[in-house]
């Protein structure tokens, strides 16, 4: 992050850096998530929002153990818990705690409402099955990540229409802190997701490893080169863009932005683009897969997993692809066992996700040591590299490693408890992501970007995706899966 970052006036000298504070809070959430291993659910009270058509049924505590709280009660407790922890954080950062607490109350309310609105089935339902479940004939297919877009738009509206109100909120506008806490928690979530697929993944090991190589070692440098040389983007824009397009969308773009210390608006804008493009991909790619790859279902499934860039949208696209291809195969008298295509899509995605931390670490090292070394210094010394290294990456790697070790090292019952508990922590991760998107909206004036600049970012996406990513993904999926069919239904 450049020196020009969040302009929050400190009331006192900071006692801790925002980087280390994010690690402490992220690890604290992760630590609470581990309590169920000792028989106590410490995070089940967190308020989660499911996709809804009936607003009164949307909110609920993350765990049924806290069902007596009701959705609204869980929301109040979630707010109070975050208020207490983040107010303590504001104190540690040397800020005016009272001002922070007042502003955070409004920020939390607006951000959570954004998530709630983004979870409306008209916005969030993706698959035909989801639409049927909610009795809808159409939906925007934004997945529940559409709440991030709503939060960004809410922030932009406040910044541009109610600037005085935006000014009053600024004490609680800490996009970097929220992003970093979310990423530390994300490490554990990715670990338990990966561990849940390891059985299948081990049987698809070569394809999974190939997916990692494609995403990080083939797609990333090519997209980075297209952005830098083809479109003239700076390094600050090109790296999050390359990660967002090549790896896994929102999380990768944000982790990369943090790793190279870009301005926080940069990865958030890239993430917004990724979410919007994911909708287009979900609508187009399964239909293409059905039209041209219906006789190679696993090629189609792997291809979709490589092409669609957010996790939720990729799995949804895998589900739609499976439904379309199974329907076409059934019309030809072939009945595949359900689940195999979706599993291949999910496995490819999980393999790619697992390496975000490693990649962020590599980029952080290169940017700290070679691309943005301290002015005047010949070459960054190890202590300088450490000083400037984004510490939250260490928190991310730590939660990932610990959660993966615990999940694989415990018996099935215990690992199931852990996965459920990390799922509760993940609700907080989503809340922190939403707070981030809202904060960025409040701090930014994107009008000029929407007028002209965004088109150029989108052009990089279109050129990379349709000119390169889908074709390479198809060829390599074909090399590994051609002729391999799902088992037939008995």
């Amino acid at each position: 992050m450049s020196a020009a970052t969040v302009s929050v006036q400190a009331a006192q000298p900071a006692r801790i850096s925002e980087d280390w504070l994010s690690v402490l809070i992220g690890l604290g959430v992760f630590g609470l998530a581990l309590f169920p291993l000792a028989g106590f659910d410490a995070l089940g009270w967190v308020a989660t929002t499911s996709v809804w058509t009936d607003p009164s049924a949307a909110l609920a505590p993350a765990s049924k153990a806290y069902a007596s709280l009701s959705g609204f009660g869980a929301l109040v407790i979630t707010y109070l818990a975050l208020l207490a922890v983040l107010s303590a954080g504001a104190f540690a950062l040397g800020e005016d705690v009272k001002r922070f607490a007042l502003a955070f109350t409004a920020v939390f309310a607006i951000a959570y409402v954004s998530w709630f609105v983004g979870s409306w089935a008209r916005f969030a339902a993706v698959t035909p099955a989801d639409q049927a479940k909610f009795g809808l004939s159409w939906s925007l297919k934004l997945t529940s990540e559409g709440g991030f877009i709503v939060a960004l738009l809410a922030g932009l509206a406040i910044a541009n229409v109610f600037p005085a109100f935006a000014e009053r909120l600024k004490s609680a506008i800490h996009p970097e802190l929220y992003i970093k806490i979310a990423i530390v928690i994300l490490g554990a979530f990715i670990a338990v997701t990966a561990a849940g697929k390891l059985n299948l993944a081990s049987s698809l090991l070569l394809r999974g490893v190939a997916a990692i190589i494609e995403a990080y070692l083939i797609y990333w440098p090519v997209v980075y080169l297209i952005a830098r040389k083809g479109f003239g983007f700076s390094r600050e824009w090109s790296a999050p863009l390359a990660s967002g397009i090549s790896i896994c969308g929102v999380a990768a773009a944000i982790a990369t932005g943090g790793a190279i210390r870009s301005r926080p608006q940069v990865p958030v804008l890239v993430s917004s683009l990724v979410v919007i493009f994911a909708v287009i991909e979900v609508m187009i790619l399964p239909a293409i897969a059905q039209a041209f790859m219906s006789h190679e279902p696993l090629v189609a499934a792997a291809w979709v997993g490589l092409a669609v860039k957010t996790d939720g949208a990729a799995v949804a696209a895998g589900g739609i692809t499976q439904a379309l291809i199974q329907a076409k195969a059934a019309a030809e008298g072939v009945a595949y066992q359900p689940g195999w295509m979706l599993a291949v899509t999910a496995t490819v995605k999980v393999f790619i996700d697992v390496f975000i931390g490693v990649w962020a670490f590599i980029l952080a090292y290169i940017w700290t040591n070679h691309i943005n070394p301290r002015p005047g210094a010949q070459k960054a010394r190890p202590v300088e590299i450490w000083r400037r290294f984004p510490k939250f990456i260490l928190g991310f790697v730590a939660t990932f490693a610990i959660a993966l070790t615990l999940t694989l090292g415990t018996q099935a019952g215990a690992s199931g408890k852990l996965a459920a508990a990390i799922g509760e922590a993940n609700v907080l991760r989503v809340i922190f992501f939403t707070l981030t998107f809202f904060s960025i909206g409040v701090l930014s004036n994107f009008r000029k970007l929407w007028e002209e600049g965004l088109g150029k970012l989108a052009a990089v996406y279109v050129v990379s995706l349709f000119g390169f990513v889908v074709w390479v993904g198809f060829v390599i999926s074909w090399l590994f899966f051609a002729g391999v069919k799902p088992p037939l239904a008995s």
């Binding site: 190939a210 290169i366 090399l479």
Partner: protein, 49 residues
């Protein structure tokens, strides 16, 4: 926090590719292609069922 103005930023002189960026892209692509060839060969030896 300064707002990003992509139009103004696009008018700025293009940042030249640094040697370390070229190395990053070159090494990534070379390593990626080599590993992919290796994996394809392995897949031929032990194909999926």
């Amino acid at each position: 926090m300064p707002n990003p103005d992509l139009r103004d930023e696009m008018k700025a002189p293009v940042e030249p590719l640094l040697p370390v960026e070229k190395k990053l892209m070159g090494w990534s692509l070379s390593l990626g292609l080599a590993l992919l060839v290796l994996l394809v060969l392995l897949n031929r030896v032990a194909p999926l069922n």
